[in-house]
């Protein structure tokens, strides 16, 4: 198990380095001139050159790259050229909002997708199976902004049950961050009123974000369960008298969870990098909005920072998935 773990971590490290290189290259081939942006719209040639020197953009590329690496190693993501703010500080503010949204969406996807997948497999070709199939197909096909607007219309405008935007009401002072995840922080400080408020804000965007994820987990889990239930070891377990519940929930589901886990890992990365539509519809102050507004302004440091954070997150998710694979599958542990 240890060797397996170390190999996976080593691989993740290599991928991270690749990602760092990639963000650097992309920021250098981007058509906009960051020095001109920094100097402002009315700047003359000499002011632009001054800005270029200030930001170290006049140095040879290898030197810039080295500096980028050392800064990153010190946790310094650089400064936004447009606002002058530290990208690290911005990320610390926006990333938890996105992370909280993605975690909740993933929780919904797994907690509903896996049981519904099992149920549809057990009721294969029955009404429940057809119902979940229609649900899953529409879950993948519905455009998120359209679905988001629909939910806002239903739950906020018509029913008046839930707010439409933000993480908290504009009148609520955000608490000092502990983890930055409002649901967690409010529970840690025992502030249940705040918890309710945060939950009422996050629930609609989380549903919208989770729907495609839920749908694909459901479909994969269903077909893997159908497959697993046909396997010889299930026949043997029945012959030996293992209880039906245990056959389904342990003997078959454990096997079906291996491919499902792969989808969960992929969907995690997908959600991290595609929150922007949901963040736009629900005015959610996350890294998606931050990255897009920076990109539109030609401000490349925030974009690099977001790319790195998302990539790092993706790698950690993959690492966790790989570890869970090792936990589930004894054949992997040996190597």
């Amino acid at each position: 198990m240890l060797g397996y773990l170390l190999r996976r971590i080593g691989l993740a490290g290599l991928m991270l380095f690749g990602l760092v290189c990639l963000t650097f290259v992309i920021s250098n081939v981007a058509p906009s001139d960051p020095a001109a942006l920094a100097a402002g719209p009315d700047a003359g040639r000499s002011q632009i050159e001054q800005a270029r020197r200030d930001y170290g953009l006049d140095k040879p590329l290898p030197e810039q790259f080295l500096r980028y690496l050392t800064d990153l190693a010190h946790g310094d993501f650089g400064r936004s050229i447009a606002t002058g703010r530290s990208v690290g500080t911005d990320l610390a503010r926006y990333f938890p909002a996105t992370l909280e949204l993605v975690i909740l969406a993933m929780a919904l996807g797994v907690l509903l997708g896996v049981p519904l997948g099992v149920l549809s497999a057990l009721r294969k070709d029955g009404p429940a199976d057809h119902a979940t199939r229609i649900f899953a197909v529409s879950g993948i096909a519905l455009p998120p902004f359209w679905f988001g607007l629909l939910l806002q219309l239903a739950f906020a405008t018509w029913l008046g049950l839930l707010p439409t935007s933000g993480r908290l009401s504009v009148f609520t002072e955000p608490p000092p961050p502990i983890t930055g995840l409002l649901l967690v922080d409010s529970l840690l400080t025992g502030n249940f009123g705040l918890f309710r408020e945060a939950l009422s804000h996050i629930i609609l965007p989380a549903i919208v974000l989770s729907l495609p994820c839920l749908a694909s987990i459901l479909r994969v889990n269903r077909s893997e369960m159908v497959e697993a239930l046909r396997m010889d070891y299930v026949t043997a377990a029945r012959a030996h008298g293992v209880t039906p519940w245990r056959i389904v929930m342990v003997h078959a589901l454990k096997n079906a969870m291996l491919p499902t886990l792969a989808i969960i890992g992929l969907r995690w990365g997908w959600m991290m990098s595609s929150t922007v539509l949901v963040e736009t519809v629900f005015d959610w102050p996350g890294i998606g909005l931050y990255a897009v507004s920076s990109a539109i302004a030609g401000d490349f440091k925030p974009v690099m920072g977001v790319t790195l954070i998302v990539g790092l997150n993706f790698m950690i998710a993959n690492l966790i998935v790989d570890l869970l694979y090792g936990v589930l599958d004894p054949r992997l542990r040996r190597a």
Partner: protein, 328 residues
């Protein structure tokens, strides 16, 4: 006294995409308590489907019972609910499978699989499931009974860490968990290395003798039948064509198919005689031949064979044959 197992006019069809396959076409077999019956026949003749029928393990659908009864201790298992059937599985009837690699769950430790079986059998008869530790102790006992060393260590290992022979022993141990009276073994040695085949067969024979089990042993190896079974039934395309004492059948097969099957075995005493196989291959079970299902391949078929299905009749005491032209 009723026999332990009585199969009467049992017909099972599979509704497949290409049509309905009449896989078992009127099986009649009887097995007394403690009796040993071998089932032989070419691949695809329905041996495994028959074996699975005894434990209601065929997937329904596509499988569908067309007619007949399978009476175990007098009660028809075809009419049993799933709950009733579960009382029998492992506790009265047990099964050993062909490929021990695929019949063990690759992700679960041997101990977990055995404990689940033992505790599931408790639940099936409405008892409180015994604690895992007790089930584990029982599992270790069973592993020792099939001659596996270091049971405690084995319980913590996973199937991929075991050799084929060990895996089959584990499956045999699991089959014994509920002290069954009937053991159904479906080609238990086919997937094993030649060197361990004899050992596993000897193990089964020993357990059957020690525990007084009835045995239904499916194989396409006549040598295995000769070693382990008092009686033998020859199957062809979903029918039993001859049933006899093993020694009688091997020395003087009467049904043309049985004759062909035995002629296909190389004669070790007369190596100069070439084994004579049976020309042709097994027929489609979706559109089986009319009359005798064997007639397209039968060297002595007549017009009657093409139109009229031969019923199995006793032509000598303890010996029955389904053929229009068989004589004692």
């Amino acid at each position: 006294m009723t026999a332990l197992l009585e199969i009467a006019d049992y017909r099972l069809a599979f509704d497949t995409f290409d049509g309905t396959a009449q896989v078992l076409d009127g099986i009649d077999l009887t097995l007394e308590a403690g009796g040993t019956l071998g089932i032989v026949g070419e691949t695809g003749c329905g041996k495994s489907v028959l074996a699975r029928s005894l434990m209601a393990l065929n997937p329904m659908p596509p499988a569908r019972v067309v007619s007949g009864q399978i009476r175990f201790r007098g009660s028809d298992i075809l009419g049993m609910s799933d709950r009733e059937m579960r009382r029998l599985r492992g506790r009265a009837i047990s099964m050993v499978f062909q490929d021990p690699a695929s019949y063990l769950n690759p992700l679960l430790a041997i101990g977990t699989q055995m404990e689940d079986a033992i505790r599931g059998q408790d639940a099936a008869v409405g008892e409180r499931q015994r604690p895992r530790a007790a089930a584990r102790a029982r599992a270790a006992e069973l592993l020792a009974a099939v001659g596996l060393p270091e049971p405690a260590r084995l319980l913590d290992s996973h199937p991929h860490q075991l050799s084929g022979g060990m895996r089959q022993r584990v499956l045999i141990a699991m089959a014994l968990a509920g002290d069954p009276v009937l053991l159904v073994a479906d080609e238990p040695t086919t997937a094993l290395d030649v060197t361990v085949q004899a050992q596993v067969l000897a193990l089964i024979a020993r357990l059957v003798a020690e525990r007084g089990l009835a045995l239904m042993l499916i194989t396409h190896d006549l040598g295995v039948v000769a070693a382990a079974c008092a009686r033998v039934a020859v199957m062809y395309a979903g029918t039993v064509v001859e049933e006899a004492a093993t020694a009688d059948l091997l020395s003087r097969p009467l049904h043309p198919y049985a004759r062909g099957l035995i002629a296909a075995v190389p004669d070790l005493d007369h190596p100069e005689r070439r084994p004579q196989g049976i020309a042709g291959s097994i027929p489609s079970l979706i559109t089986p031949p009319r009359g005798c299902r064997f007639h397209p391949r039968c060297p002595v078929a007549t017009e009657r064979c093409r139109s009229e299905k031969p019923l199995r009749r006793e032509i000598l005491p303890g010996r029955s044959i389904a053929c229009h032209h068989a004589t004692p």
